[in-house]
Structures are given as C-alpha cells and as structure tokens.
Symmetry: C2
Subunit: 217 residues, 2 copies
C-alpha cells in the first residue's frame, strides 16, 4: 500500500479533533463520507473477530429529539448530522459464534469442518469468561475499539464527532427498539460539523506532557 | 481543515489492516512515523479529558522476549518494531484530577478558581462510579478508545498492528515496572510491518453483512 497520509497530516487531524459541543444543524455529512464512516465501524477490529455489536444510526429528527431527553439534555444528539448508538451483544453464545463461522465459510470459501478447532477455542474462551462473570465486560471493550476507530477516521476525513457516555442506556434501548433484544446500548457518538461559534473548538487541547504518559523501555 | 484523506482512501486503509500474526523483525518504524503514533495515543479522547492511562513502549529486545513469555508465546511482541502496553490508572481519585486541572491552568492560562465547578462535577462523577464499583471499568473503557484510535491511525499511515488481549497482565506489570504503582496493564498492541509470508495478510476479511450490523433510523 502506498502511504495515504503523512505523519504530519495525521497529527494535524488529531489536533483538529475535539469533542464538539455545538454542531451546525444545517450541515449534513455527504453520503460518500458517511458510507466510509459506517465502514470504519463495520471493519473495526474485535476480539477473535466476533464483532459483538450493532450500530444504530439515527438521522430521523423526531428520534434524535427523543435521544436528547435520554442524554441529560445534551443537544448534540439533535444538532449533529448522523448520530450513532453503539450497542453490545450481551451474553454472547454459540448462536453468534456459529453465525460468524457461517460467514467465514461464505467469505473465505473454506469447509465448515476446517473451522472446528477455531470454534472449540472460541467457545472455550467465551465459556471461561461467562464463568468468571466477565463476558459482557470483555465484549463491551470491543465497542470502545469501534468508537476509537470511528472518531479517528472521522478526524482524518475532516468530520467532527462528540463521544457521549453521559446517556441513559435503558432509555436509548427503548427509543431505538433494542429493549428485549440481545443488544444493549453502551455509548453513543454524534458526527457532523462544528458550529463556528463553539468556543470549545478554539480552546487549547489539554494533555499531560508526553513524558508523563509515555514510558519507553 | 482541508480534507487529508478521501473516503475511498480511508476504506482502502481499513481493509488493508488486519491483525498481523507475523511481523518482519528486520523492519523498524521510522522515528517520524512512530512519533505520530505516540501522538495518536497522547491525543486520544477520554471521558472528561482525564487521560486515565500510561503507555509503555517497548523496543528493548530482552524485554520484548520476556513479554512473549507473558503472552502465551505469541511472538508478535518480539518480532514487531514497537510494542505498546496500555495501562489504566486504577482507583482514579483527586490527585489525578488535580494534576489534570493544574495542566488546564498551564495550557489554557485560566485561573484555578474558574475550574472549581469542573472539579466538583468531575469528582462527583468519579465518586458515584467508585460507590457503584464501576470506576476502574469506566476508566478501562477509555484505554480501548486509545487502542482503537492507535490501530486506525497506524492503518492510515501504512503501519501494521496486532491487538493483544491474550496476555497475562500481572506478569506484564512485573516486567514493565508497573507492579505496585497505580497503573495496571489492560491490553497490548504490536506495531511494525507484516512479513510477506503471513498467510493471514491475504485471507479475506470476514465481516457480517452491513444490514446485520448497521440499523438506520
């Protein structure tokens, strides 16, 4: 692959990014851009490749308004262009694993039997986590990988985001039709374009000094 | 900001990325590239901007070899160019918050008093999580945001990575000098360049169909 971004450009984009407080409600993300951002979610890495997630993309104004009321009145949900709720597959079990394995067979054209060892290894790991009570925690970690990839990808495309942990997940699940399913909202992210008068856009980014955060051995 | 990457280029980079099994031990990431990747960690978004982390970058061959033995013999730790252990700040409390606030004062030139409300809000949120027993879980989520951003940024630079959850964190802490500190290894990531004969590099990427993962409202 030829390099598509220089280190300098990358760091510029990452410094340009900030948690956008005010989105411009009039500016919509062009379709081609949004499709690439959906791909950043679909293609996100996950443990054992299990993709324990569902991403609910909201552009309907009425639903966005409802989400504001489930987000402690943070208006980003309404004013952004595309709003994403990232939901985890709870209590992940054999049915999900078999769906993934079936997909491996389809995509790679391999025999189902050749994946028996992979299946046993995967189920073993899942059962171990289930017994330890850490299964949902483990899978939830993967949601945050997708969130991190999504925000970084948006930045290099010049699209603003605001990650939102201050939400009421159970209310989200009701509004988004996830209640009663195997999926549960974990976190959300607004995407769109900053409003020019968002004072946070010009505030200097605060980070600990590199030597306090990076240890080199 | 002018766009630095087209949607097409982004999706190409994300498809090019895979969890690299075999790194070329002879190929090192150039300094300028690595500095940009360190910035992707330093500049990663985190809840309330608290940066509850430390990143241990390992290039010393002897330490990398030790880490292989703490990673169920996965050789990526040894063969990659730069290996990163991502550690979370446990039991995050007032000292860390005040260090962050002091940094806000330094970087933004604002008065300490002006941040009293921010401090109270932050401490309130942390104490609530501590009481609920979710403080470390919450902060650990931020580590995975940094991991997601790191892998996406590496991909757009043309650098290979392999996320590693199959590690023994307590052994890592001993090897990396984190044992007995407030920081604990959560996950690791190898970075470098794929070896040409890594069969996983050419295996088709397996993802559920978009309609199974993305819900549009």
């Amino acid at each position: 692959m030829s390099l598509t971004l220089s280190p300098h450009q990358l760091v510029h984009a990452l410094n340009w990014r900030y948690a956008t407080k005010k989105f411009d409600p009039a500016k919509k993300i062009p379709a081609e851009m949004w499709e690439a951002l959906e791909q950043s979610l679909i293609l996100a890495p996950s443990s054992i490749g299990l993709q324990p997630w569902r991403f609910v993309v909201v552009t309907d104004p009425a639903v966005k308004a409802q989400l504001v009321s489930a987000s402690f009145r943070q208006t980003q949900a309404a004013d952004c262009s595309h709003f994403v709720a990232l939901a985890v597959r709870r209590d992940l079990g054999a049915d999900h694993v078999d769906r993934h394995i079936q997909r491996m067979v389809e995509v790679r054209g391999v025999a189902l039997e050749s994946l028996a060892k992979f299946r046993a290894m995967t189920m073993g790991n899942l059962e171990k986590a289930r017994a330890a009570g850490t299964l949902d925690t483990w899978q939830t970690h993967q949601i945050y990988i997708a969130l991190g990839q999504f925000m970084a990808c948006a930045a290099v495309l010049g699209i603003d985001t605001c990650p939102m942990e201050g939400i009421e997940p159970a209310k989200y699940d009701e509004i988004l039709g996830l209640a009663g399913t195997e999926y549960a909202t974990v976190v959300a992210c607004a995407a769109g374009y900053r409003l020019e008068d968002d004072k946070y856009a010009v505030a200097k980014k605060v980070r600990f000094k590199a030597e306090e955060v990076i240890v080199r051995i």
